[in-house]
């Protein structure tokens, strides 16, 4: 997902406090920043929310790539609004992470140094305009699967950020599907572009949910703390079940001959993605890892004089105001 393979942190806290904390979570109470919380809960959340925030920010790059080349002015305005929303999502999430005692600059530096990750999906290139359709439809679609249940997560600031984000995501997915409809019902060449985009984004989208974690101790801890609400396999299955009929409507073929309705389980059978590819991308060896981090590094470096300049101006004005009083 936007936060993939988040390992939970061990906790060495007072057992009585831990029991009381777990009871609050089991009772459905929200944990707020100033409340007592286990060290592991705090650290795991910083990692998870931080990774989620980084994904929103880096996730602007593959779509930002097409803003200047959108086929119409209307499409351009829509894509711009969508990418701007993702910036907003990143900001909501960074603020939620900061309530846990990490600073914005620390988070940014951890992303740039590679210490913190972002979702594997954004290391794939967007080669054609149809990819804007596939990204909105599949990538935002997969993100929604994960974000909707996270609105009920136990950490208050994270849950509230998710509520805001979910309100905006459905626009993202629908504008993507709208592009896919235009392409799939267009000329044969346009339809072929749509099919090609689906072919390239199908498995990377399935990878967004991360490898199976049904036996993972980290996931079990995170689920007990309600900072993870479903297993990766559950969400992946839901995503496939939702997406296959949408592809059928478009007259497009899911690039997996194993996709077949399974009456017994009440869902589709499908093939697992190539997990060795996933681990390579996570390690930094995906098609665009270097390019994405370079772009973020450049934005950070090029913006330094501006951030500092505004700060200097603000302090100068504050001093002048004090002097005048």
């Amino acid at each position: 997902m936007y936060a993939q393979m988040v390992t939970s942190e061990a906790t060495n806290d007072d057992p009585a406090k831990l029991v009381a904390f777990q009871a609050r979570i089991d009772a459905g109470e929200k944990i707020e920043p100033k409340d007592w919380m286990p060290e592991g809960y705090r650290k795991t959340l910083i990692r998870q929310i931080g990774q989620h925030a980084h994904s929103e920010i880096v996730g602007q790059l593959p779509e930002g790539n097409w803003i200047t080349r959108a086929p119409t002015l209307e499409r351009k305005a829509i894509l711009l609004a969508k990418v701007q929303d993702e910036a907003g999502h990143g900001l909501y999430l960074y603020c939620a992470a900061e309530t846990l005692g990490v600073s914005r600059d620390e988070l940014t530096e951890a992303l740039l140094s590679g210490k913190m990750k972002y979702s594997s999906i954004f290391n794939y290139p967007t080669l054609t305009w149809a990819d804007m359709g596939a990204v909105g439809w599949l990538v935002d679609g997969a993100a929604i699967m994960n974000q909707v249940p996270l609105q009920r997560t136990s950490f208050g600031p994270y849950a509230r950020a998710m509520v805001r984000i979910c309100k905006e995501e459905s626009f993202h997915q629908r504008q993507g599907y709208d592009i896919m409809m235009k392409m799939a019902f267009g000329t044969p060449a346009q339809k072929a572009m749509a099919q090609d985009a689906l072919n390239r984004f199908w498995y990377p989208s399935l990878m967004m949910f991360g490898p199976s974690d049904k036996d993972s101790v980290h996931s079990a801890q995170s689920m007990a703390w309600k900072i993870k609400m479903n297993t990766n396999d559950e969400l992946r299955q839901k995503f496939v079940d939702q997406t296959v009929p949408q592809a059928e409507y478009l007259g497009l073929t899911i690039p997996d001959p194993a996709v077949k309705w399974n009456e017994d389980k009440g869902g589709y059978d499908f093939s697992e993605p190539d997990w060795s590819e996933f681990f390579e991308v996570i390690k930094g060896n995906g098609p665009c890892n270097a390019e994405r981090l370079e772009a973020r590094q450049k934005a950070w470096d090029d913006g330094a004089w501006f951030r500092d300049g505004l700060m200097a101006h603000a302090s100068k004005r504050a001093t002048a105001k004090v002097a005048a009083e």
Binding site: K34, C95, M311, A314
Partner: protein, 94 residues
């Protein structure tokens, strides 16, 4: 020089007649920029008609451990609620 922009808490009046409500926070060098950023971050879809920005550092919050002493006394004063009093039906709506 590299100092992080300070944090601001953002309050938005959603519609005329409503209170400003806390919606989140953001970083900005000064109050003027905080309002501009708040416009972009929190009101992209007509969510507000007015914005307040407050430096986070100036907020004093009650501490979670004071929850008992602060709020429990009110629990014992049920007579503060109108439903505490039984008024006979004959009296009419009150």
């Amino acid at each position: 020089m590299s100092s992080e922009w300070p944090l601001w808490e953002i309050f938005i009046r959603g519609q005329h007649g409503l209170n400003h409500r806390h919606v989140g926070s953001l970083h900005a060098p000064d109050a003027e920029m905080a309002i501009k950023h708040a416009r972009d971050v929190y009101t992209r879809r007509n969510e507000g008609v007015s914005i307040w920005v407050v430096p986070s550092a100036t907020i004093t919050a009650s501490s979670p451990s004071d929850k008992g002493p602060l709020f429990e006394p009110a629990n014992a004063k049920v007579y503060r609620h109108p439903t505490f009093f039984d008024i006979p039906d004959e009296v009419g709506k009150m």
